[in-house]
Symmetry: C2
Subunit: 768 residues, 2 copies
């Protein structure tokens, strides 16, 4: 899933994680050794990891990918089931206790889809991508579904067209300023600027009758590089498929909220399922978008709306263009095949370290998701060998290969909902990956895991440059800041320049961590490599193929092995640690930064409201506007009432103190705390992140219960941190902001209190 | 001249003036009345201006433009001479003492020019633009010169091609980082980023054998709007002509530096003229650029190098493409016809207020320059009527219509050089305009004239909105700042929000003020309207025609009349003022801001050098780079030595004090100073700006003597303020920076001392 970003295939790196200006806490200076381990256990762990590494073989990954990407493997396809069976067999072969857990979900597949311009001239979009020289699987057109977006409504519409840029809230403000509305019309949006599914959702909210989404070549085509097969980028006939379910409200099967979609689960109807759209939505290629966009009249678009087609972009809406679109889907339930494999923990079988990657693709899915899936399989095979050689993890390892991630995180969500009670008790950490590629390590996740991730990155050697993965991250941040003349993320660059820890991003959505992190409150980390080459150039297209991946993804599978080393280490260390490898100070520092951002949001919002009031009073928008054009001023806003962040500020201050005390006790206590107390400490830490949930959930979306990390309601995949407060401030819902400032403060107080409990258990042994 | 900027035809507004974050000095609160006038003289002046306005008639302007734009009017063309004769007749008709002053200058015209791709495929560029429906003069192809750039060298070259983006210094740094060099190759640069003439100059310095410049449609074509004749923008076959003489070193006839190019002047040869390029340079259309650029291989360009053609932009330089270019010119001397018209001052005949606009175009020149020229003619006619009715200006008015501005500011420069001694004694103010259009007032100039310009803008009513021109400027700045969410020029926006004076820009080059301001040290102001409609869409093209102007320029000539009212008022007020209408505080405040910018430049330069040193030491560029590509780190720089700005800081502090004292004395003394002393004050003020010259000139370009305002050596038209210091700092020439900090401090001290003299003469009468 993720979304296609220019210049990187590492989708979660830029897509689902916030910009990450956290400077690692330099104040605390822990023992230089492995976090969570005493000297003796560290030595054993290092030996174990060396054995683990020795099992990893790039050729395995290549072979598995070639096999699994040999036919379309979307939910419900024969090859999706075959892949699940293959993955199951690999787990079993490696000695895991493995099974397929099946769910039955609403997943519409296209029966009849078409997009055709009927005026001023005729042009019918091709919704199949077709064969391309050098891409062997591209000839299997008969086995593919036509290009579509899952969970658009059924419909048959002929209407005028409005180009809405990326179809985000600011774009609708711009349309209003130009006197253009979309009621009863078909909106045409380009990809980018926010998650795909928001485009039709906002279109529907604004009264549109249909929604077409296309890949503009400026962002995703010849603007990014030579198109496939000459280069890696999207060719004129390439289409980006994807989900348009209302994921920021709730992922998973739309018919079974909060419950596993088992055969006999209670189900809503499609009509009562709030996350299913009502209007038809279809994706088209830029080759097919061009004649429609070229024919539009109406106001010229502002410069940031222009794409890369050789035309003048207009907003349309004048009746000059009519498009006929049809979408009819098969709405029957489809089976999901999750593969679940377990190795029981020797000491703490009821503490689960979970590792997952999905296996379903939109078509062949070589990069997304198989590049990550084969790395995970390599880990599983290597771990199996360690177990065969007599090793046992202290905690239980649960390796999972999810089905149905693409349409709506279906497999992971249904499994998480089905096993919610167990997971709430036993879940320690969820480690996710998805597509993978050549280049740099990108990590997002719960910030208490920032240190362990940095330690792992510091120990692993980058296969291309020979320096550590961490050094390479730092070099990029530092050199980029120089080349961008201070542009970019100054705090990350500063950390890099000082040789400090590289901040990890906060997680929004777009992959399978969401149910674990944001619904159940498990600490989660998402990992992948990318940023060089460009296997993302054919994101969610039939050309995301094995042949493409071995030219432009990770030709040697060297970074597939790196992903296995990285995620495998994180799983093994978390499973084996004396004390769970968390550094609370990193989490506290990050919360402090987020708190400051909220204050700035309040201050900026006030200033902006005052400016708007003045401008409306002086009629400045009209006076400054071109009188030959339609100029509509923005609507007035009321003044910003007092926003009370004091309780939240105090909670963050308390958290900082508690975190510092915990980290100090953890370092001082290493190897010196009695096993029984350690077990208590670990049990407390394993559950610590559950304090960050609120039972009532976030405003308007009760399924999302984490008050620290959430996907934005108006960004889709992009994260909103402290979302209850932040989104209320952004949306000018002042009462809600004040209310959630209290809720969020309460959660952070509870987290701090949990740390205090752990600290108290570690301290006595040290001082006596 | 100027350059083509997207979304505005107001070329000098964005092209030749710096961004202008000066907040007007709010501390001083002068009498609300007209600056430079006592109450009685103000009343008379207002009556005079009302009479002046009554003479202005949009129909006159339209008729004159239609006539003058009816045939190609470049230097040496029959219609250029006919236009000079026509202008002369209009001046004479209006009662001015007018004559044509002729010079003979080197001005090469194309005899044989061609650009042809010869490999991998064949494509010949069309250097004629051809007829277009609805553009009546576009059929006169036989009378036009082919598209060319004046002052490129003769040559016949076949070579590999390198795309150099805009061909500016940072672009060559980027090429070097990618391991691409241009030695012996033909560089292909798109317009934009800096003045046209720098592109071949830098190409030549880097060893290129030829230079092709094209208009990219992202900036100048369908990206900016629908192409002509459907819309205003450049069509695929449209070419931008222009000068490539080395203007930042010296404008004017290349053969007669510092002297008027009279018939028998001493002349250099073309070969010894340092401002003439050696390599051939030709401009082509985007229609003709596309096949060449599409065929290039080599490294992908960075995102900010991408244009709007539907191709993947590469740097080239691999030998994949060969282009054959030929340029042979007729290098004979050509005549220039400056029209000079005078009305003798009644009280101070030896104080000259000069007003100018050129009359030569590249082809038909409707917008550039005739839209400004007809406004100036309207002023002259109105003033003639006032004189016929018995009025006389106190000071001498000199109205000028220059020839040969387009190739190299030839007419104005030769006239200024020819009359340098007189001008140094008698010049008070030079008021310039060039092309004009519909929209907003844009002003650049000597900052002591900021107040009078603001007063005039505050009194004139905008014809479209009915508010004052000043209110409209403020509304735009204020509303833009809101819409750009704090982007743009915050200080101007703040001034606008507070209802303060709108800052005027500093002048670089690109029009006829340069010899007056930057060679002779006359206070200068450049004025024009624009920013709505887009007559600049066909800048320097055969389609800059009357038919284009009346659709997309200023269809009603309402803003032509506004230009006449604005420039006319400035001329009349300066000619009639009791005390020359200068507010020294505005100049001093601006210098203070520039001084702060220099400090920031030093600080940023040090930080950047330190960062580079660290990055080279850690090998970060290589480590961060993609190992499958060529990655070359930037070259090392030595540490920044101490830069001594203390003397300059002190001079600015002194200037602030002297300026405040002068402004206070001016306000207090209005109407109270004896005529003889007033005359002395005015004589002092008239010469004050000459203190800002340094005899030795700026580093490497002795012709430019003004140490406050200069066009940038590496920007061309764009201004560099305090240029001796600023450019030395930017170029890391530390000794030069220290040296010119002293020179500049000396100039500002001398200026302050001049103010003190004037203040002393005004004060006694007030206090006794």
């Amino acid at each position: 899933m993720g979304h296609r970003t220019v210049f990187t295939a590492l989708k979660f790196l830029l897509a689902t994680t916030a910009v990450i200006p956290l400077v690692a806490s330099a104040a605390e200076a822990p023992r230089a050794g492995m976090i969570g381990f005493g000297p003796a256990s560290e030595q054993a762990q290092r030996a174990l990891e060396a054995k683990f590494d020795a099992q990893l073989n790039a050729k395995d990954l290549r072979g598995w990918m070639e096999r699994m990407a040999s036919a379309p493997n979307h939910v419900g396809s024969p090859h999706d089931k075959a892949n699940a069976d293959f993955i199951l067999s690999k787990f079993k072969e490696a000695g895991w206790d493995a099974r397929i857990e099946t769910f039955y979900v609403l997943y519409p597949t296209p029966k009849n889809v078409s997009v055709e311009m009927v005026a001023p001239t005729s042009h019918k979009a091709t919704l199949t991508e077709g064969p391309v020289a050098g891409d062997r699987t591209s000839t299997q057109v008969a086995d593919e579904l036509p290009a579509y977006t899952a969970f658009g409504g059924d419909g048959d519409v002929t209407a005028d067209v409005v180009y809405v840029n990326q179809g985000m809230p600011a774009d609708y403000e711009q349309l209003a300023r130009n006197g253009v509305d979309v009621k009863g019309k078909i909106v045409m949006a380009r990809y980018g600027g926010g998650w795909r599914g928001l485009k039709p959702k906002l279109a529907q909210e604004h009264g549109a009758a249909g929604c077409i989404i296309y890949s503009d070549p400026a962002d995703d085509g010849y603007g990014a590089g030579e198109p496939w097969p000459k280069g890696a980028e999207r060719p004129p006939q390439g289409v980006q498929r994807g989900s348009v379910l209302d994921l920021p409200v709730r992922p998973g099967d739309p018919l079974t909220p909060n419950a596993g979609a088992t055969k006999d689960a209670k189900r809503l109807t499609k009509e009562t399922a709030e996350t299913v759209l009502k209007i038809p939505v279809l994706p088209i290629s830029y080759g097919d978008a061009q004649p429609i966009l070229a024919a539009l009249a109406g106001p010229m678009v502002p410069p940031n709306w222009r794409g890369g087609l050789p035309i003048t972009y207009h907003m349309g809406g004048t009746g000059a263009v009519k498009v006929h679109m049809v979408e009819q889907s098969d709405w029957s339930l489809k089976p999901l095949y999750n593969v679940i494999a377990t190795i029981q923990g020797s000491e703490f079988p009821d503490q689960w370290v979970i590792r997952g990657n999905h296996h379903d693709g939109w078509v062949f899915g070589a990069q997304d998701p198989l590049s990550g899936n084969v790395a995970m399989l390599a880990e599983a095979q290597a771990i199996g060998k360690l177990v065969k050689d007599g090793w046992k993890p202290k905690r239980t390892l649960v390796y999972t290969s999810w089905d149905g991630e693409e349409p709506a995180l279906l497999g992971s969500t249904e499994w998480a909902e089905q096993h919610a009670a167990d997971l709430a008790k036993k879940g320690v950490l969820y480690i996710n990956s998805d597509g993978n590629g050549r280049g740099f390590l990108g990590v997002g996740g719960t910030h208490s895991y920032q240190k362990v991730v940095n330690q792992i990155a510091g120990e692993l050697k980058d296969p291309q440059t020979g320096v550590s993965v961490l050094e390479r991250q730092r070099a990029r941040a530092d050199a980029n800041a120089y080349d961008k003349r201070g542009g970019g993320d100054a705090e990350t660059a500063e950390a890099a320049a000082k040789g400090g820890d590289m901040p990890i991003g906060a997680l929004g959505s777009g992959s399978d961590y969401t149910p674990f992190l944001q619904h159940l409150g498990l600490a989660s980390v998402n990992i992948g490599y990318g940023g060089e080459g460009d296997s993302g150039g054919v994101y969610h297209s039939a050309y995301d193929s094995f042949d493409h991946y071995i030219r432009f993804g990770d030709p040697e599978f060297a970074y597939g092995v790196m992903l296995a080393k990285t995620a495998g280490r994180l799983a093994l260390r978390t499973a084996n640690a004396d004390v769970l490898p968390v550094q609370a100070g990193d989490f506290a520092d990050t919360m402090e930064r987020y708190g400051k951002e909220l204050h700035k949001l309040v201050d900026d919002g006030k200033k902006r409201q005052e400016a708007l009031e003045r401008l409306l009073k002086t009629n400045a928008f009209k006076v400054a506007g071109d009188p030959t054009k339609t100029v509509v001023p923005p609507p007035a806003e009321g003044p910003v009432p007092p926003i009370d962040l004091a309780k939240l500020d105090a909670a963050i201050t308390k958290l900082k103190t508690s975190a510092a005390a915990f980290d100090a006790a953890r370092v001082a206590g290493q190897g010196a705390v009695a096993p029984a107390q350690l077990a208590q400490v670990n049990a407390i830490l394993a559950g610590a992140d559950r304090t960050l949930l609120t039972e009532k959930g976030l405003p308007g979306r009760p399924w999302y219960k984490n008050v620290i990390y959430a996907p934005g309601l108006e960004t889709g995949y992009g994260v909103k941190t402290l979302p209850g407060v932040r989104e209320a401030l952004e949306g000018k819902r002042w009462d809600e902001a004040n209310q959630y400032a209290g809720v969020t403060a309460g959660a952070l107080e509870a987290y701090a209190a949990t740390l205090d409990k752990a600290t108290a258990l570690m301290k006595p042994k040290v001082t006596h």
